[in-house]
């Protein structure tokens, strides 16, 4: 029988929430690595029992974890992330050059095909790759050595590479996004990269339409349409239909177009989800109402989804890696909040239930759809 497994990273540990295909009754496992920040947990598409985890701490730094049995047991693997060559500098908050320095792993993206290959997006922004199940990591340095690298600068949350998308139709193509540098694409397996930010407009940089410097919060893609990308930017929800070469705004009638996550329905490539947040200064839902917004037209026209979500006095945030969709039918949507709730919908967003109420602040949510 089919089922789902939610991998939840929080400020104080990792949790695994499991259910059958009905997605009504849930089993909670955890905390795994209690007391540590678990930035991200993600399973291999090629082997769902293989899960990678980023475990971090202000005291003890970065630890990388790997499970070979679906999260029952874990082993620490390699945690050395050495930049390729002389790291050089990027731009600091005050505009001065600042040495590139590893801080933590924000996002893990296992290969679509090989359980032992996994990509890591790190702070200070760079892309790393392991081909031995996480034992050793090598920088995909063509990205950071792109000519604009010295001009990248951090957002308030740090200069992180948070989004990694492998093109399912073209193994040489990959997309990444960095706060606050923007989106980049490689068409040659990572050797060279180019910024793909044409059409983005950001008022907080001197040239609002600059080639780099945009605070992209998240990019999502539907596997059936790899050239169509959806972006939640610092402000603005954007869309590209040419692999990121050009973007147009699709914020439409959203109550606010600030937010962090964005995701695409598993079976409807034009159905997308965002969670509007009041502003960059007030990271909580407008009017204290937690609303997921769904567009069935690939943007521009949006409808609020509220059934089962708090519609008063709700002041949580939903972080960029904290929304995910399963591949069951109907499609399941899940998101976690900084208030420790993980909400799930087993009907494409029409209605929601709090799977758990009181976890630590949720940093990330990923789902595995199990056969």
């Amino acid at each position: 029988m089919s089922g789902v497994r939610l991998l939840v990273g929080t400020r104080k540990g990792g949790f695994i929430l499991s259910s059958d295909g009905k997605r009504k009754k849930w089993k909670v496992s955890g905390p795994h690595f209690g007391g540590w920040e678990i930035y991200h947990l993600k399973g291999s598409p090629a082997d769902p029992d293989r899960i990678y985890g980023s475990q971090t701490s202000g005291w003890f730094g970065q630890v990388m974890q790997r499970s070979n049995d679906g999260g029952e047991t874990w082993e620490a693997v390699g945690n050395e992330f050495a930049y390729d060559g002389v790291p050089g500098t990027h731009q600091w908050y005050d505009g001065t050059p600042h040495p590139w320095e590893f801080k933590r792993v924000w996002h893990l993206e296992p290969s679509l095909h090989d359980p032992d290959t996994v990509y890591a997006g790190i702070e200070d922004a760079a892309l790393f790759r392991s081909a031995d199940g996480g034992k050793s990591w090598q920088e995909v340095s063509g990205l950071r050595k792109h000519g604009s690298g010295p001009h990248w600068s951090p957002g308030a949350g740090g200069m992180c590479l948070h989004t990694i998308i492998q093109d399912p139709a073209n193994p040489k193509r990959m997309f990444v996004a960095i706060s606050a540098a923007g989106a980049f694409r490689t068409d040659d397996g990572g050797a060279t990269w180019k910024p793909i930010n044409r059409g983005l407009r950001s008022q907080f940089i001197p040239d609002p339409e600059a080639e780099v410097g945009h605070c992209v919060h998240r990019i999502a893609q539907h596997r059936a349409r790899p050239n169509t990308l959806f972006m939640q930017k610092h402000w603005d929800v954007m869309r590209s239909d040419d692999g990121g070469d050009n973007w147009r705004e699709v914020s439409g009638n959203l109550p606010t177009d600030f937010g962090f996550p964005i995701d695409v329905h598993a079976h409807e490539p034009e159905t997308i989800y965002v969670v509007p947040i009041k502003s960059d200064s007030e990271h909580f839902p407008p009017e204290g109402k937690l609303r997921v917004y769904r567009s069935r037209s690939g943007g521009d026209e949006w409808e609020p989804l509220t059934k089962g979500l708090p519609q008063s006095d709700c002041y949580v945030n939903i972080l960029r890696d904290a929304m995910t969709v399963d591949t069951l039918d109907p499609c399941g949507i899940y998101f976690g909040t900084t208030g420790g709730q993980v909400y799930g919908s087993a009907d494409g967003g029409d209605s929601w239930t709090a799977i758990v109420h009181d976890l630590p602040a949720v940093l990330s949510v990923e789902v595995q759809t199990l056969a």
Binding site: S57, G58, W59, F60, V63, A76
Partner: protein
Amino acid sequence: MIRVVLPFHLRNLARVGEEVEIEVTGPPTLHTVLDALESQYPVLRGTIRGHNGGRRRPFLRFFACEQDLSHEPTDTPLPEPVVRGVEPFLIVGATAGG
């Protein structure tokens, strides 16, 4: 034999109790004790200091015999009672955070 007391999270990471015993080759110093500790428990590499003998992580302290050795040069010999195994070498996490 050097006795090393680890903070809670590193004990869990290394899957050991509060105190471990380390055999050090050559004169015991901050550097050689940490080398030996990381050799015996590779999972601790990078969690106490940078990789390849790098800098102490800022929120950790090294105490022994009621002295703070955190800011001493890494080739400083450890106090005699620590070398003889009478007193432990303590790795302590700073009190901070929520």
